[in-house]
């Protein structure tokens, strides 16, 4: 199942070390959830290789047992990813590859208990797993949520479509779970039984559950810390945004305004950057928050926006990357990238990394006017957002996981 590239360069010679020691000490950085630390897509201290191809600069590649659009996550010595297979895509896979070699460490397969119809562009394995470093939670479009330990032992499961029989979406659910303050937050936005739930990450039991508007959505929750409320979660649907305390689900703030149904809100410096027909900057403190600014030039398409330093960046449906000033939305520059973008961009060092559906990864310098510095092609269809850890870039096509070697 796993193939190692001929140019394989193992990062370390640690194969004789016990796994627990390896997990604790061999790697400086993990990438534990959709869009990495805090879900912001920001990795300013990382440095990655600038050029690679199918035959060059690859640490390893792993063929996956099925289809998926979920991102890999990096947990200690494991790279964890999900997939689904079967004529009805009702076999759900969670698998862990060795971070150094790509060898399969374990694979768990479950039967879907909810609906598995899905638009061909998406997948039943569209939600990115999340981890607190100890547990791994994986959510599928069937609304099945599994928690496993790092040895692949099932700790608990929630068959949310059994508990909420009209939940799910035949286009496919795209949301990813978050682990915030010990609570696994799952947002199920659909026309049927829409709800959000906070689940104790240890026990698998409910901490809270709240009904939501019956409207389809594919956004992923965002963790945000508020001084007066502590760890909170932002839940977005096309009609607005709300913040709830992660530990008990208490609503602490809401904003009624047009929001996109797919790309998620991001945050920087206490300001929320909300995708709608462009991008709106909203302060999540006042009851009737008017946007500090709104710009239709910052349309997001499918990909979620980035916010860092004094900049924000978006990629629209036409593949145009736009960078603006974070404080006022003033346009700084644009560059047209080729192809269509389902994966969200990441900020790595002083570059935006953007992967198009056709397998091209663009590194765009944003030090001044945005400018494509390199474009690297891999075969396959890429709708998953990449992961980055310790200088390695992890790219996932529909059926293959690639580790791009560090520089």
């Amino acid at each position: 199942m796993m193939r190692r590239a001929s140019t394989l360069a193992l990062a370390t010679s640690v194969s004789t070390l016990p796994c627990f020691f390896l997990a604790a000490s061999a790697y400086a950085a993990d990438w534990l959830e959709f869009r990495g630390p805090g879900g912001r897509g920001i990795a300013p201290t990382e440095t990655i290789r600038t050029t690679w191809s199918e035959d060059d600069g690859i640490s390893w590649r792993a063929d996956l047992p099925g289809k998926g659009a979920s991102s890999p996550i990096v947990v200690g010595d494991l790279v964890v990813v999900t997939a689904s297979s079967g004529p009805r895509q009702d076999r759900l896979h969670v698998l862990a590859c060795d971070r150094a070699t790509g060898d399969l460490r374990w694979q768990r397969t479950f039967w879907a208990t909810g609906r598995t119809l899905c638009h061909p562009t998406s997948a039943v394995a569209a939600g990115t797993p999340a981890s607190d470093g100890t547990r791994i939670v994986a959510l599928f479009s069937s609304c099945d949520l599994f928690a496993l330990d790092r040895d692949g032992r099932l700790l608990w499961q929630r068959n949310l479509a059994v508990e909420h029989p009209r939940s799910g979406n035949d286009v496919g659910m795209g949301t990813s779970p978050r682990i915030i303050d010990g609570t696994v937050v799952v947002q199920i936005d659909c026309q049927g039984d829409a709800f959000a739930v906070g689940i104790d990450a240890v026990t698998g039991s409910d901490r809270w559950t709240v009904p939501r508007q019956k409207i389809a959505g594919w956004s992923t929750p965002l963790a945000i810390e508020l001084p007066e409320h502590g760890a909170c979660v932002a839940l977005q649907n096309p009609n607005g945004l709300e913040l709830r305390r992660a530990r008990d689900g208490v609503l602490v703030w809401s904003w009624k305004g047009d929001c996109s149904g797919i790309p998620m809100t991001t945050e920087a410096g206490g300001m929320l950057y909300v995708p709608n027909d462009g991008l709106a900057a909203v302060t999540p403190t006042t009851a009737e928050a008017a946007p500090a600014w709104r710009s239709t030039k910052l349309a997001c398409g499918i990909a979620s926006p980035l916010a860092w330093g004094d900049a924000v960046a978006t990629i629209n449906r036409a593949g145009v990357l736009t960078v603006a000033t974070r404080s006022d939305g003033e346009l700084r520059g644009q560059v047209r990238l080729a192809g269509s973008f389902w994966a969200s961009p990441l900020l790595v060092g002083e570059s935006v990394v953007a992967v198009n559906k056709e397998g091209a990864t663009f590194l765009v310098s944003i030090a001044g006017e945005p400018k494509v510095t390199t474009e690297n092609q891999l075969p396959g269809t890429f709708t998953a957002t990449p992961a980055i850890a310790d200088g390695s870039l992890y790219l996932r096509s529909e059926t293959t996981l690639w580790k791009i070697a560090p520089p």
Binding site: P87, W111, T113, N159, V162, Q191, D200, T203, W208
Partner: protein, 380 residues
């Protein structure tokens, strides 16, 4: 059971199973104990934890289930196959608990897993389909030739995934055959196949070789309907409103006879009535069933739908324009031998996007495998 209890064993008959689950994660000491643990795991109901209640109960239950799965993960190779039968009557979540434990055991024992006993499970059509499918998948990775050889007898298998593999095997033999035999192979494959994609692939081959297939008939779609005039559904108000056609003996005066020529039996209400938004219509079909009993009503529609069989409600889905598929919604209904009526309420909303223009449905009546059961003489 208290509402926050997190484990409920389906059926009090399995006291041995309940005892097994209640005990700590002691490794089973016998195959009987292993089967009891497997049965208990497989029949575990989903958790029902109310907000704010009993996180300790949640801890006890899920952790208890995990430890029982641990116990199964440690059983000897020869106990694994008997535990597969616990998938009979498994709950959705329970089946996954059981699988998680058994697959860890399978990973651990490697090639010690007895291939002959796995093959016996695969062959035995009386065993649970999931047990047979799982046994087949394990056998396939260990002794692929043996697994492959089992498929010859499975063209009519009640386990869909095995039947699919058998059809694929039959089709794989076609390229080496002469044209006459190739046709015969594809005809046999078409008769055996139940998965839509497989049927379409086979039908495509036959059409390319001069034997067009009436797909709608093969798949059993009801193609002749009486369609009502449009009723109001602005702002979705009509979905829950019982218009006169929902009465026990609806008056169908003024309804229009509509026949589908679509290969998937689609009834296009935009064409039958008018391209309208914020409306709904009823469609009535008379279907003939060979015998009385339950059957699956399978409907696909991008619109909100409700279905009645002989005046009894069967299903309702208030979902608008979130994809569409053959057999999108499935529910079981009781039919009489002979004539039965099927009434569909198909609701269109007021979305203005081009992709939300469709107002249509397709319906067939099948057994649980997808074998068409109903026929039609006419729409009255």
């Amino acid at each position: 059971m208290r509402p926050y209890e997190t484990i409920a064993i389906a059926g009090m008959a399995c006291s041995l199973a309940a005892d097994a689950l209640a005990s700590a994660a002691k490794p089973p000491q016998s195959v009987e104990q292993a089967v009891a643990v497997a049965t208990a795991l497989a029949r575990t109901e989903g958790i029902q934890v109310q907000p704010g209640l009993a996180s300790q109960a949640g801890l006890a239950s899920q952790a208890g289930l995990a430890s029982q799965a641990d116990a199964l993960a440690g059983i000897p190779a020869e106990w694994i196959v008997p535990c597969l039968d616990a998938l009979r009557d498994a709950t959705p979540g329970g089946a996954n608990w059981l699988r998680s434990g058994l697959e860890r055991a399978v990973d651990r024992v490697g090639d010690a897993l007895p291939a002959g006993r796995l093959a016996d499970v695969v062959r035995d059509a009386a065993r649970p389909p999931r047990a047979r499918g799982l046994a087949y998948s394990w056998l396939k990775t260990r002794q692929p030739q043996l697994a492959w050889s089992l498929l010859d007898a499975m063209l009519g298998d009640p386990a869909l995934e095995l039947r699919r593999e058998a059809v694929d095997k039959l089709l794989a033999s076609a390229p080496d055959a002469d044209e006459s035999l190739q046709r015969d192979i594809h005809r046999r494959a078409l008769a055996a196949a139940r998965d839509i994609d497989q049927i379409e692939r086979i039908a495509g081959w036959l059409a390319e070789h001069g034997e067009p297939v009436d797909l709608a008939a093969t798949l059993g779609f009801m193609r002749r309907w009486l369609v009502s005039p449009a009723f109001d559904n602005k702002q979705g108000v009509g979905f829950a409103k019982a218009y006169p056609p929902e009465s026990p003996a609806p008056d169908t005066t003024g309804w229009k006879q509509v026949g589908s020529t679509d290969k998937h039996g689609v009834i296009d209400l935009n064409a039958a009535i008018a391209t309208e938004k914020g409306v709904l219509a009823y469609a009535l079909a008379t279907v003939e069933m060979p015998q009385a009993g339950p059957a699956e009503v399978r409907i696909g529609s991008p619109c909100a739908v409700q279905v009645w069989v002989n005046g009894e409600p069967v299903m309702q889905h208030e979902i608008y324009h979130a994809s569409e598929a053959i057999d999108q919604y499935v529910a079981t209904a009781d039919f009489r031998a002979g004539s039965n009526t099927v009434l569909v309420k198909c609701c269109q909303n007021e979305q203005t996007e081009a992709w939300a223009a469709d107002w249509k449905f397709q319906l067939r009546i099948c057994d649980r495998l997808g074998t068409p059961l109903a026929t039609q003489r006419d729409s009255r």
